[in-house]
Amino acid sequence: MRLSTEERAMRDGDGGDAVAAAMDLLIRYGEGLGAERLCAVKNVAGTTTQPTPAKTQLLREGGWAKAFAVTSLDCDRDVEIPPMRVPTCQLQQGFSADALQITPYNPHLVELQEGAEAFATDRGINILATCTPYQVGNLPVFGEHIAWMESSAVVYANSVLGARSNCEGTTSTGAASLTGRIPYWGNHLAENRYGTHHIDVRYPVRSFQDWGLLGYFSGGLVQEERPVLTGDLADVDSEKLKHLGAAMATSGGVEIFHLPGVTPEASTLEAAFGGRDVPDSVPYTDAERRSAYERLNSNGSSEDVDFILLGCPHASLNQMREIADLLDGKTLNPGTELWVMTPRALRSVAERNGYVAAIQRAGGKVLTDSCPAMSRVAPEGTRVFATDSAKQAHYLPAILGIEAWFGTTRECVEAAISGRWRGELR
């Protein structure tokens, strides 16, 4: 891999041992990919604070610096960790102390994370603590090269914002934050961003649920490739694009999609394919929609629902308002818990607007920083849960061993009130 003078100096220790270790990791990684060079980034979204068994062991051996060196730089040497070289944020992490009264989360893990957070903030890492940094002020500009983790955030950044990121990992984002570099490969190059598959949407897609089902179908179809969606699509908004991309990155590994006329790199169908031949389209009809719905509901059998989860990816203010409105004047079933996940920054606005109080009056809980999949925790005794998120319906049965129902936001709130799952595909 070709290195600039500045990059060679970083590799050789001019920026200190941690920067040299970061450059060593980027070189091993970049050469593994077959990248010709690195590119400059000034926006890194990674994760260094969430507690893990490996980190617990490393902390005992050599404190937070050791844990950071190994898990964020893949470096075995004892190195001093300097401030981050470029703006860096922490994505979702484990639950924090404010969740201890609400969730059966281990207080020891909260304590561990507080230590990691203090170490990170001392070095300039902004604790956004959300899977949706783009909802709380981290908005890269069109064409900007960035280094992000979190599959649902990466697909949003590439597709909706037109920024350029691969799906990075803990060590590559750690190394990027100390060097301002990432391998120039994959989604960073224009020719790798054009569509590969054309999906012709024949069933009318309007609702939040339908945008999620379309995403779940599309990801399963194209796997790691790049779908272009045209046809009977309307009423699009940022929440629906967030759901669409998160579902694609769950059933497949989609990192970029195009909606001609909506997303910025596809003014037309032809532009979405970069002027190459548009491939034969694959139809999305009611049959594909039903099949996606059935797959997402294949882990549900009991209609007695213990737990409702909303806000995956983390809820926007509009979603918080919708949930608050649906709960207005209602009371949750005594045996059913409702958790709404949102970024802490949006929670403070939602408090100001009265949405949090409205959800709490009905008996619901508003949580931040994390989610049941990330923190591997649900209300005590949960056997059956329901969600409006294709991503959580897919992952949570494997992670927590519970049954799942996938439906609309309204069906989920109604199940929280009645304790019974009555969802169906209309």
Binding site: D24, L25, I27, R28, Y29, E31, G32, L33, G34, T47, T52, P53, A54, Q57, L58, V70, T71, D74, M149, E150, S151, V154, N166, C167, E168, G169, T170, T171, S172, W185, G186, Q223, E224, T250, G252, G253, A373, Y395, P397, A398, I399
Partner: protein
């Protein structure tokens, strides 16, 4: 930047061994040499939510390797899927003592390449034949990450100890 992987390197006694059934060549992306029995899957693997790094066991529901550990095996798979936590989970399998002996995969993605790099097990990609189709579970495989060479044998060499169940934990 060269980093040798010593922990997985086994004594190689070419004199006591039959010729390989198959030799594949490709690009070594993690240096070092390892040989062990293969564990092959035709399904992509999830890191986060898909493996238990403390035992190297695949935990994804309905995965064909569910309940089987890749610890100490040559892990042969088509590619990585799911969360960006993939590499962190595979790095953890090394830190917690249960990494694969080597990796061979078909589809080159950031998740799988970074995962191989931080797991530090010899890895060869861009092979001149699809390893998932050509290698069978329990074949004896030597992965040479320095030379980008993979040798596949029908049986373990004498004395290498490749008996059934060795290196595998079925939960």
């Amino acid at each position: 930047m060269s980093r040798t992987t010593e922990r997985n390197e086994l004594a190689h006694d070419s004199a006591s061994r039959a010729a390989p059934r198959l030799v594949l060549t490709g690009r070594g992306i993690v240096p070092g040499r390892a040989e062990a029995r293969a564990l092959v899957t035709t399904q992509t693997i999830s890191g986060w939510g898909g493996i238990d790094p403390s035992t190297g066991t695949v935990i994804e529901k309905q995965h064909e390797l569910e309940g089987i550990s890749f610890a100490g095996r040559i892990l042969v798979f088509p590619g990585a899927k799911g969360s960006s936590g993939w590499s962190g989970f595979f790095q953890s399998s090394r830190l917690l003592g249960s990494p694969p002996a080597a990796m061979l995969f078909t589809t080159v993605t950031t998740k799988a390449v970074l995962g191989a790099v931080v797991t530090r097990c010899p890895t060869v990609i861009e092979l001149d034949g699809d390893p998932v189709a050509l290698i069978r579970t329990d074949d004896w495989v030597e992965v040479d990450g320095d030379r980008g060479r993979v040798s596949v044998f029908d049986a373990a060499p004498t004395g290498a100890g490749g008996g059934a169940g060795e290196g595998v934990r079925v939960l």
